[in-house]
């Protein structure tokens, strides 16, 4: 056996760490520590996820049988609106960047904190205010517009959609500030010994995400302002009754929301690059291809918004261009899938929970990506547009992709964040339930949709009943999996075994400090001898490589 060149799991003391240096609620609420802010985000977005998940269960319950099952059509429409808004704006967008990104990114570039710690805390509070504002606006205003709030439907009855929009506007600023903070941090606070190509791919993904957050989110803010201006000054912008154009709204909306899809998925891809290498003790296959594909996705993502509007009276010419570009943007994602799979080749694969979620990601995200090809193909999209096929497709991408990656990241970094190990077997079991439940729920929806059932339907024809029932059963399995995972993670906070500095034998810099890390991340910055994926050096006795 090759000699081990350095102590992979050094005994770094962590009796005084970021969790216990100061005590009390106030010390948390006024903290400037990126790790504590990350943890506060983590709990908050998890809470949002659980609420959104319960709403999802309610939606599936209503769809258990045709006609009214448990709620009226008004309630149903409000429930799916709330589900969509919470999951997208409160959960997925901040999930990985703001929670895991905040915690991990400064650590792995050898920084003591982010560039603007106070702004970081402010971002969190802006998120909280925006979240409360949005939810209150939806519930008190009975908003039932869907998360897309297309005009003129959204502006017909009351002004409540404007209030909801304002909530999202506030949330948008939280997202912009976080993005800005991260960009500056990576440029200015990166340890001089860590070159751009020595950064973990997670940072590249966060970088790409931050770019989109800064460039795209203002468009959403502009849209909301225009909606408000239209309402207040009665000038026609989007409202046909005033001479406005509803298609214009769709352009604005998707000009933000398509890039936002990449705000949601890029960080997930970043997490997967970390977990798949750490759990198979293998350098990432094709570092540069993966790194540049993140940036390619961020850029190309701005050019395909029109693929949501193939049936929105778009000209044949622009339809053609958007379809072409859509296929183009599929390539970088495909490259990543191939590279991750190739990373496993000749690895030393440990099937921990984090790895299982990683593999689940590969499986589900591949399906999500491949079914996107159906929707990009123009003639087929005419049939599938706005059916359940689309619902299934984006759940495979968002939940099968981002959420699986988020969970993979949580299990991977849990020892680092909390200083405790989670219970492995029960967590694996929960992962299995999530995987099975997810497929039962959403695989069926592809067929429901390609057979012709439109989305956002409260009621449906008898012929769709068996598949819908099946999907609802799946949602219960999925719910049970998430419940078990949540309970066991919370349990481990107090009762889990104490974690060592580097329980996975991983190469990243974050594992060279205590679990949990001290206040300013490292007692003293370790000598950086190798890159974040240099397992050939750590375990194979090869010379350290720098990219």
């Amino acid at each position: 056996m090759a000699t081990q060149v350095e102590d992979i799991n050094p005994d770094i003391p962590s009796d005084v760490n970021y969790l216990n240096v100061t005590k009390g609620l106030k010390s948390w609420l006024t903290t400037h520590d990126h790790k504590r802010i990350g943890v506060m985000y983590l709990y908050s977005v998890m809470a949002a996820f659980l609420v959104g998940g319960m709403l999802a269960l309610a939606i599936r319950l209503e769809l258990l049988s045709p006609g009214q099952t448990v709620m009226s059509s008004e309630t149903y429409n409000q429930v799916f609106t709330l589900h969509g808004i919470i999951m997208i704006f409160l959960f997925i967008i901040p999930s990985i960047p703001a929670a895991l990104g905040n915690f991990i990114m400064p650590l792995v570039i050898g920084a003591k904190d982010v560039a603007f710690p106070k702004l970081n805390l402010a971002s969190y509070y802006i998120w909280v205010v925006g979240a409360i504002f949005t939810i209150v606006a939806i519930i008190t205003g009975g908003v039932d517009t869907g998360w897309t709030f297309y005009t003129p439907q959204s502006i017909r009855q009351s002004g409540s959609v404007i209030w909801m929009g304002l909530g999202i506007f506030i949330l948008g600023f939280s997202s912009i500030f976080t993005g800005l903070n991260f960009l500056v941090t990576m440029h200015k606070l990166r340890d001089p010994k860590i070159g751009w190509f020595d950064m973990p791919l997670f940072c590249w993904a966060i970088y790409g995400t931050a770019l989109i957050q800064i460039l795209a989110t203002p468009v959403l803010a502009i849209t909301v302002l225009l909606l408000a201006a239209e309402k207040i000054f009665q000038v026609g912008i989007f409202n046909p009754a005033l001479g406005g154009d509803p298609v214009l709204f769709q352009h604005f909306f998707w000009f933000y929301s398509h890039p936002a899809v990449y705000i949601m998925i890029l960080p997930g891809m970043g997490v997967i690059s970390e977990t798949i290498t750490a759990f198979s003790h293998k350098p990432i296959f094709g570092y540069r291809f993966v790194a540049f594909s993140s940036i390619a996705i961020a850029v190309l993502g701005f050019l395909v918004w029109g693929h949501h509007m193939f049936l929105s009276a778009e000209s044949e010419f622009s339809t053609m261009i958007f379809s072409f570009l859509t296929f183009f943007v599929a390539i970088p994602s495909a490259i990543k899938i191939f590279n991750w799979t190739a990373t496993l080749y000749k690895g030393s694969i440990a099937l921990t929970t984090g790895m299982l979620y990683t593999l689940a990601f590969l499986f589900l995200f591949s399906i999500g990506g491949l079914t996107g090809i159906f929707l990009g193909a123009l003639s087929v999209d005419v049939h599938l547009h706005d059916t359940y096929f689309v619902v299934a497709h984006f759940h495979y991408v968002m939940m099968g992709g981002t959420v699986m990656a988020f969970l993979a990241g949580i299990y991977y970094w849990w020892p680092k964040i909390t200083g405790r190990m989670y219970p492995e077997n029960i967590s694996r079991f929960a992962c299995l339930l999530v995987f099975i439940g997810f497929n039962v729920t959403f695989l069926t929806q592809f067929v429901v949709g390609s057979k012709g059932m439109p989305r956002r339907y409260y009621d449906y024809l008898e012929q769709f009943a068996p598949l819908n029932q099946f999907s609802t059963f799946g949602s219960w399995i999925l719910g049970a999996g998430i419940l078990i995972a949540t309970v066991s993670l919370l349990w481990s906070l107090k009762n889990g075994q104490k974690a060592t500095a580097n329980p996975w034998g991983a190469a990243g810099l974050e594992w060279k400090t205590g679990s949990p890390p001290p206040l300013e991340n490292f007692h003293e910055l370790p000598e950086i001898k190798h890159g974040p994926y240099d397992y050939d050096y750590l375990y194979g006795g090869q010379k350290p490589t720098r990219h």
């Binding site: 056996m1 090759a2 059509s73 039932d144 297309y150 003129p152 439907q153 017909r156 046909p240 154009d245 509803p246 298609v247 198979s280 350098p283 296959f285 193939f310 049936l311 009276a313 044949e316 379809s323 296929f327 599929a330 390539i331 495909a334 490259i335 191939f338 799979t341 190739a342 496993l344 080749y345 000749k346 690895g347 030393s348 694969i349 440990a350 593999l359 590969l362 591949s366 491949l370 090809i373 193909a377 123009l378 003639s379 087929v380 005419v382 049939h383 547009h385 706005d386 059916t387 592809f446 067929v447 390609s450 057979k451 012709g452 439109p454 989305r455 339907y457 994926y533 050939d536 375990y539």
Partner: protein
């Protein structure tokens, strides 16, 4: 429904369906193969390289330019095939044959109003067309965006309040085909549902001939009962006194004193009922929202008379 279609797709009942389905299955099988290859690799590696005690670490290359270029270029070329094929199919859907019959379809919350060329009153949630004849559909909306979708024909198009959109199809089978609204349009979105009825040329001409309303000798109340369903009143009004629907029940309505939203009340007689159908917002019933669409142009005078006769029977 005619036939069950395939496992994933509904029956094919229009000229464009076969080509769209062929592309669908081309993509499907391409994806299936790609998926099995990648997942096969993943599961194989997972089993073969599972971490085991005492197995020494063997470094292996983590970079291979020819391989990486291959898996970039090959998928790209395949996707270009899909792109071109999809675009051609899309153009077929967009170029309306010059000899098409022109129907007009209006979406409004929450029904489809269909005007057949040569028929003076519009039908509701029902579109009767001849088989093997190109049909152009001029779409518009009275209020919000709707989208007209007939799965068995593989056609769909959004309907806008401020502009016309068009689409066309040619049915290749006779029978009844579901049509839906696929753009979310509010509370009763999922009830905005109807049928396209495809008839043979001879049947279609016969239908055009007799579609002038009630037969001489038919009982008005009985005919009205049919209208109550076919003109969609039943989606919002019950006849058994239940109040679960959007509008008031018709049971016991005739001859009663109706209290209105403005606080006044009115005797329910023929004129009130007529006005309720033609100008529903003139007098809004207390406790309800004025969301009933106007039926002006959708009901002939005789239809209104028959509906009134029918409501009278619901005591």
């Amino acid at each position: 429904m005619n036939g069950a279609g395939t496992l994933q797709l509904p029956p094919q009942a229009s000229t464009v369906a076969a080509d769209i389905d062929a592309l669908y299955y081309f993509i499907f099988w391409g994806c299936a193969i790609a998926f099995i290859l990648v997942m096969g690799g993943m599961f194989f590696f997972m089993a073969k390289y599972r971490r085991r005690e005492g197995v020494p670490y063997k470094p292996s290359p983590s970079h291979n330019t020819p391989l990486e270029v291959t898996w970039t270029v090959v998928p790209f070329l395949l996707l270009m095939v899909v792109f071109v094929w999809g675009f051609k199919g899309y153009m077929d859907l967009h170029i309306t044959p010059a000899n098409a019959m022109e129907y007009s379809v209006r979406g409004k919350q929450w029904l489809w109003q269909v005007n057949t060329p040569g028929v003076s009153t519009a039908s509701v949630n029902e579109m009767v067309v001849p088989v093997n004849t190109p049909i152009k559909v001029l779409l518009q909306s009275d209020d919000v965006i709707h989208s007209f979708f007939v799965p068995d024909f593989r056609v769909k198009m959004d309907a806008y309040p401020n502009q016309y959109t068009t689409m066309w199809f040619e049915a290749t089978k006779t029978g009844e085909f579901d049509m839906y609204c696929t753009e979310y349009c509010g509370t009763e979105h999922s009830q905005m549902f109807g049928k396209v009825i495809v008839k043979t040329q001879a049947e279609f001409e016969e239908w055009m001939g007799q579609n002038t309303g009630r037969q001489e000798d038919q009982d008005p109340a009985e005919y009205g009962e049919g209208l109550f369903v076919s003109k969609t009143c039943a989606t919002c009004h019950s006849i058994d006194g239940s109040t679960a629907l959007t509008g008031p029940s018709f049971k016991g309505l005739w001859g009663s004193q109706e209290s209105l939203a403005d606080g006044s009340s009115v005797l329910v007689d023929e004129n009130y009922l007529r006005e309720s159908m033609l100008e529903p917002n003139a007098k809004v019933v207390a406790g309800y929202e004025g969301v009933m669409p106007t039926f002006t142009g959708l009901l002939t005078d005789d239809d209104i008379f028959c509906l009134i006769e029918y409501i009278k029977t619901l005591q």
